[in-house]
């Protein structure tokens, strides 16, 4: 192991320990509830980061999978009285069904796929809003039970935080390992040169589909977690603005960076929640900040260190 790997591992572990230490330190505070939402959104953004950053699948409809997971999981919670882990399974199945519907669109590239995925997200938003008997529509589904794992009911923001953080860590580690496997290497090859990868025997279409399918898993889990933590889901949270917010998190965090998804979620959620004194101008600020970031920091937060070190915007040229 190189010295750099050891250093990075140490920093990662310290950060992780710090994240877990927040739970007892801020038990019962608004800040911890805020962090629960950051992690839930970060999860959804993590899946999107895999699609956009690792596979070049520019998905503008990620909120649809967030919603599919939420509604799929909540159905089993409310009608079949399942607990959280089996509900995760149901959410993944429903989100994967959505990915299968999206699969034929994957042969489109660039702007065309962006447009098609946008249309998919907009269509699913309409479906969520109108299929009231299944989703409750804009009024939403109420009285969703809190998370229950191995017989333990998790109530209060400390327990919610620990659960959401643990799910986040598992997903993060899973994607980190995946990207080191043969699958990750093939994906890397596809991003470098699609024709080159194809000539080396990589099935590009299949890689893109697998990346999409894997990328819908974290948002599906995030959907269930959101529903159980808030005990309500309304269709309005799965609109185009949510898809935009998620892709903003990925880009603001740094498209090539896995932890950047969570950093982006932190920034976006902070702007959305904290400026109480200028609450009225929150979205104006949000739009302005994103517009500005696209100009001054196209590589995202993860590129700040590199930019300071003098390596000029390598991420700008990352092919998307």
């Amino acid at each position: 192991m190189s010295r750099r790997t050891v250093t990075r591992g140490a920093i990662g572990l310290a950060a992780l320990a710090g994240m877990y230490a927040l739970a007892p330190a801020y038990d019962g505070t608004f800040f911890l509830s805020f962090m629960v939402d950051v992690l839930i959104l970060g999860l959804a953004a993590l899946g999107l980061q895999h699609m956009v950053g690792d596979a070049g699948v520019l998905n503008l409809g990620q909120a649809a999978f967030f919603g599919l997971g939420a509604y799929g999981g909540v159905w089993t919670l409310q009608h079949w009285h399942w607990t959280t882990l089996p509900a995760f399974g149901a959410a993944i199945v429903v989100a994967l069904a959505g990915a299968v519907v999206m699969a034929p669109l994957l042969r489109l590239r660039g702007v065309y796929f962006a447009m098609a995925s946008f249309a998919f997200g907009a269509m699913m938003f309409e479906v969520f809003g109108q299929a009231v008997s299944l989703t409750g529509g804009e009024n939403g589904l109420f009285l969703i039970p809190p998370p229950k794992i191995f017989g333990h009911v998790l109530i209060g923001n400390r327990d919610s935080y620990l659960l959401v953080l643990s799910v986040g860590v598992v997903c993060y580690a899973a994607f980190a390992l995946l990207m080191r496997s043969g699958y990750g290497l093939s994906l890397h090859a596809v991003r470098q040169s699609e024709n080159g990868a194809r000539a080396s025997g990589v099935n590009v279409a299949r890689m893109r589909f697998i990346a999409l399918a894997l990328g819908v898993v974290p948002p599906a889990l995030a959907g269930v977690l959101y529903a159980q933590v808030h005990s309500i889901v309304q269709s309005t949270i799965f609109d185009f603005n949510q898809s935009v917010a998620l892709i903003t998190m990925v880009i603001v965090g740094g498209v090539a960076s896995r932890w950047g998804a969570f950093a982006g979620a932190l920034v976006a959620q902070y702007v959305a929640v904290y400026p109480q004194s200028i609450a009225q101008y929150r979205f104006l600020l949000y739009g302005g900040v994103v517009a500005l970031l696209m100009i001054v920091l196209p590589g995202g937060i993860a590129s700040v260190g590199r930019a300071l070190a003098g390596a000029r915007g390598a991420l700008v040229r990352t092919r998307i």
Binding site: V52, L58, L60, P104, L105, L108, R109, G110, V111, Y112, A114, M115, A116, F118, A119, F120, A122, M123, E126, V127, Q130, F240, V244, I247, T248, I251, V255, Q280, Y281, F283, L284, Y286, G287, G288, V290, A291, M294, I295, P298, G313, V316, R317, T318, R319, I320
Partner: protein
């Protein structure tokens, strides 16, 4: 579904179709010249509707006189956004997603500025009650506002076609649409031409917004009509400017027939589904030649 109503629904749909066509031209022109899917385009409709309120209600201008200042004001905003928000990214050769996201962000900024300036937005700019009564043609009811919006779209589309073919700026635009690199080697000022494309798309979006305000209502939520117009651009072949006009009319009719005869609740879902179907079946659009490139 009563078949006898179909011609009537088609005629009603044409009015909305003319609006879709104007916005779709903007989408296609911007994509053709900048290679950009612009999500600020629908907000030009919103802006046009609000400027229209100022022109028609506050200043009490007649509709035909309001169209030009509303269009020009929206065009100025479009150029401003292009130069301040998009040009720096373009110059750096920024990633596609950065450009798309920047347009989304500018769209949010526009909506929020209007929300702050006009409170929750003027909501009733519907002046149809004062309009002339409809006339009948072959037993079909035709409203004057349908005729008006069709005429407006027709005049603007024809004007644009003439501009693109007969003037040197128009030819420059077409040249940049073919290849901005070659165009710049031929001595065309590419940045100025792109600003012109932004101005035209803003002008058309603004006028479309004025019509939206006149036919339906004005306010911050009218951008959704602009978003649905994306389907028109796709039907016409994304980047195909004449196709966008046809796509707009087709979408207007489709939208209206679906709302009247299939389901008013599901009309938007069906329109978005149509985008997906067209992109899967024929990327080049349902109008004109099959296109294989740029996919």
């Amino acid at each position: 579904m009563r078949v006898g109503d179909l011609p009537q629904q088609i005629v009603f749909g044409l009015g909305l179709g003319a609006i879709y066509a104007l916005v779709a031209i903007g989408y296609s022109l911007v994509y053709r010249t900048m290679g950009l899917l612009s999500f600020v385009q629908p907000q030009f409709v919103m802006l046009g509707s609000v400027f229209g309120y100022t022109g028609l209600v506050t200043l009490d201008l007649p509709l035909w006189l309001a169209a030009v200042p509303v269009g020009v004001a929206t065009a100025l905003v479009a150029v401003l956004i292009d130069q301040v928000g998009l040009r720096p990214i373009r110059r750096r050769g920024g990633a596609e997603i950065a450009m798309i996201l920047a347009t989304v962000a500018w769209g949010i900024v526009l909506v929020e500025i209007v929300r702050q300036s006009w409170a929750y937005g003027p909501s009733a700019l519907n002046l149809r009650s004062t309009a002339r009564p409809p006339f009948h043609l072959l037993g079909i009811e035709v409203r004057w506002d349908t005729v008006g919006s069709l005429a407006t779209a027709g005049v603007l589309a024809a004007g644009l076609a003439l501009f693109l073919r007969r003037t040197s700026s128009g030819r420059a635009l077409r040249a940049v649409g073919e290849s901005s690199r070659t165009a710049s080697l031929m001595g065309i000022h590419v940045e100025r031409t792109l600003a012109l494309a932004a101005a035209i798309s803003g002008f058309l979006g603004g006028v479309a917004g004025l019509l939206v305000g006149y036919l339906f209502s004005a306010g911050i939520s009218t951008g959704t009509i602009g978003v649905k117009a994306l389907a028109a651009a796709v039907i016409g072949g994304f980047g195909n400017v004449p196709g966008a006009v046809v796509g707009g009319l087709v979408l207007g009719i489709f939208d209206n027939v679906v709302a009247a005869d299939v389901s008013a609740t599901w009309r938007d879902a069906i329109v978005y589904g149509l985008i997906i179907v067209v992109l899967i079946v024929r990327v080049g659009g349902l109008v004109g030649r099959r296109v294989f490139s740029r996919v």
